[in-house]
């Protein structure tokens, strides 16, 4: 396995790629919900790369682990807030198109 990249740097690569795709998706998509999801993907990507960095040293680095845990908590917080805002915004748009749905 030494010839190939070992597991940790493999995960690091995946994490970085996830972050980059997440950021590009986030910045360019028009739909609000899609943006929120893209934001979550970016968050997870960053956390994965942090975990990969932590795993490089033998006893995994406690500092980085603390960072990852906090990161998760904050991701949950902003997703909740984002969802509430999007529901209210969607609620606004509902009134005009009702006419042509039936």
């Amino acid at each position: 396995m030494e010839a190939g990249i070992d597991i940790v740097s493999w995960y690091l690569l995946i994490g970085t790629v996830m972050t980059i795709f997440g950021i590009v998706r986030l910045l360019l998509v028009r739909d609000l919900l899609a943006r929120l999801i893209a934001l979550d993907v970016t968050g997870i990507g960053v956390l994965v790369s942090l975990v990969a960095l932590a795993a490089r040293s033998e006893p995994t680095d406690p500092v980085l682990q603390a960072l990852v845990i906090t990161g998760l908590v904050i991701a949950v917080a902003f997703t909740g807030l984002g969802a509430v805002l999007i529901r209210r915004l969607e609620g606004l748009q509902e009134d005009p198109p009702r006419g042509d749905h039936q």
Partner: protein, 505 residues
């Protein structure tokens, strides 16, 4: 555990306690508790300020966990200055919000939209505790957490402004969180290289390193992330709708205090955490260029606004440009590094503090006029100054602070910046500062001049209704900020001595 050390911890946690308490109380009680808490926080700031002024450096390690993992609060010069400004502006805005509840947004009760949002108080106190934590924290992890707390509460505060403020709040959320994630990535990279979170230790580790690429990449990520949160020029689009749609008590908090938190973190990273690396000149020059563009384009756009609050918001974008203008000067040029950098650093801090007070005053006045006249269209506000001479005077004083004309911290800041620029032969800084001052004078005039007009206000218009006692007291708050802008102008010299304490050189 001296009083100063105790108040360090208390400053970060008391607002949180207050926020929690207000959650359970009804609206009138929340206002009372909010005011009490703000006075308590201001009280706590005093011992910290006294100890820093007398030269020593109060430090507190929470829970006995030593670095690299523990939370390490350090009250150095920069922290003391920003704590002072935050408590001054905070107490005034709290008083204003308590006296005029309709300035805290609109609340969707069961039947209809009711002015005055009870949710303002917990969010505002939470935001205040985040701010204090940002200034005091001595390690990157704590910086990230408190920055995130400030960000989220700010987004929620914007959303209080009723239907028109949700869309800008969402946009602000995306940008803020993206910025934090980038900052987190940067911190992660840095920790992976240095193995510690504490600013002092990080600096020690990085000095010994010969390959600068990884820390440089980390610094770049952190800088771009924070630039988004501070709304440097190309990334400023979220600021204008957010600050103008926010309720009239929230906009001063956002413009005056919240963006300062990200600025302080930027300064911590650039000056404390990361020593000067080879590649960072390019980054500093890029920030300088964006800052100059911010000053000029921000002012030009402010000239084109026809509503008062967007005009003041664009003025914020322009003022932010000034702070980043100083970054190329912070690099040690060929002559004496410390003396030059300290001049530019003192300039940035003075301008930021001056801007905090003046912009808070101006945004409160703009909000007050919007609440009273129903709209902030400048053509509709013609002659509105007839019944509020004190308000006009206060707006004039704040405008003096923003323009950077004498007897204001803005002036001392511009003076130090210009002196540092002349010493480092960066003549372009002088040109930008001069052009900026003239342009800012132009758009300030556009904002204040119509109020002086003697147009007859229609009898039925809301502006003509008699001014209530509460509104008179509200005007006093703006006057306090205006007078503070002028009086702090005389403390320029004192400020720079204060910043000497615990500075990085």
């Amino acid at each position: 555990m001296t009083l100063a050390q105790f108040s360090l911890g208390a400053l970060a946690l008391v607002p949180l306690l207050g926020a929690a308490l207000t959650m359970v109380l009804p609206h009138p009680a929340r206002r009372a508790l909010g005011v009490v808490t703000s006075l308590l926080i201001a009280g706590l700031t005093v011992p910290v300020m006294i100890s820093v002024i007398s030269g020593e450096l109060p430090e507190l390690v929470l829970g006995g966990f030593e670095a690299p993992l523990g939370i390490h609060l350090r009250g150095d010069g920069l922290a003391a200055v920003f704590l002072g400004v935050t408590s001054l502006v905070g107490v005034t805005i709290t008083g204003y919000a308590a006296v005029l509840p309709k300035s805290t947004g609109t609340y969707l009760s069961s039947t209809a939209w009711v002015p005055g949002h009870p949710g303002f108080w917990p969010l505002w106190l939470g935001c205040w505790s985040g701010l204090n934590a940002v200034y005091l924290s001595g390690d990157l992890f704590n910086l990230y957490v408190s920055l995130e707390l400030v960000g989220l509460t700010a987004v929620a505060l914007v959303a209080l402004g009723g239907r028109s403020s949700w869309e800008p709040a969402l946009r602000y959320l995306f940008i803020a969180v993206l910025g934090s994630l980038m900052f987190l990535a940067g911190v992660g990279l840095l920790v992976s290289v240095t193995g510690t979170l504490d600013l002092q230790q990080t600096r020690g580790e990085l000095e010994g390193l010969e390959d600068p690429t990884l820390p440089l990449l980390a610094l770049t990520l952190m800088t771009v992330g924070l630039a988004m949160k501070v709304a440097l020029l190309p990334m400023h689009r979220w600021l204008v709708p957010a600050h103008s749609a926010a309720p009239s008590a929230v906009s001063p908090i956002l413009s005056g205090l919240v963006i300062k938190a990200a600025m302080v973190v930027m300064l911590r990273c650039w000056l404390w955490a990361v020593p000067v690396l080879q590649g960072s000149e390019w980054l500093a020059w890029m920030l300088g260029a964006l800052g100059a563009a911010g000053v000029l384009i921000g002012s030009v756009l402010a000239l084109r606004q026809d509503r008062l609050k967007p005009l003041v918001a664009y003025s914020t974008v322009a003022q932010i440009g000034y702070w980043f203008l100083a970054f190329p000067l912070l690099l040690p040029g060929e002559n004496d590094a410390a003396q030059l950098a300290s001049g530019a650093y003192g300039g940035v801090v003075a301008m930021a503090v001056g801007h905090a007070i003046a912009k808070a005053g101006l945004f409160t006045a703009a909000g007050f006029l919007k609440d009273r006249c129903g709209t902030d269209e400048m053509s509709a506000l013609r002659g509105a100054g007839a019944h509020h001479p004190v308000l006009i005077l206060a707006m004039g004083m704040c405008a003096v602070g923003l323009l950077g004309l004498p007897i204001s911290l803005g002036f001392s800041g511009k003076w130090q910046l210009a002196t540092a620029a002349v010493a480092a032969e960066h003549w372009w800084v002088i040109l930008v500062v001069a052009a900026g001052t003239l342009l800012s004078a132009a758009y300030m005039l556009r904002g204040i001049a119509p109020l002086l007009l003697q147009a007859e206000i229609a009898e039925d218009a809301p502006a003509a209704s008699p001014v209530s006692v509460r509104e008179r007291v509200g005007e006093i708050a703006v006057l306090v900020l205006g007078v503070a802008t002028i009086c702090t102008g005389l403390l320029g010299a004192g400020l720079s001595d204060l910043l000497e304490v615990g500075s990085w050189w």
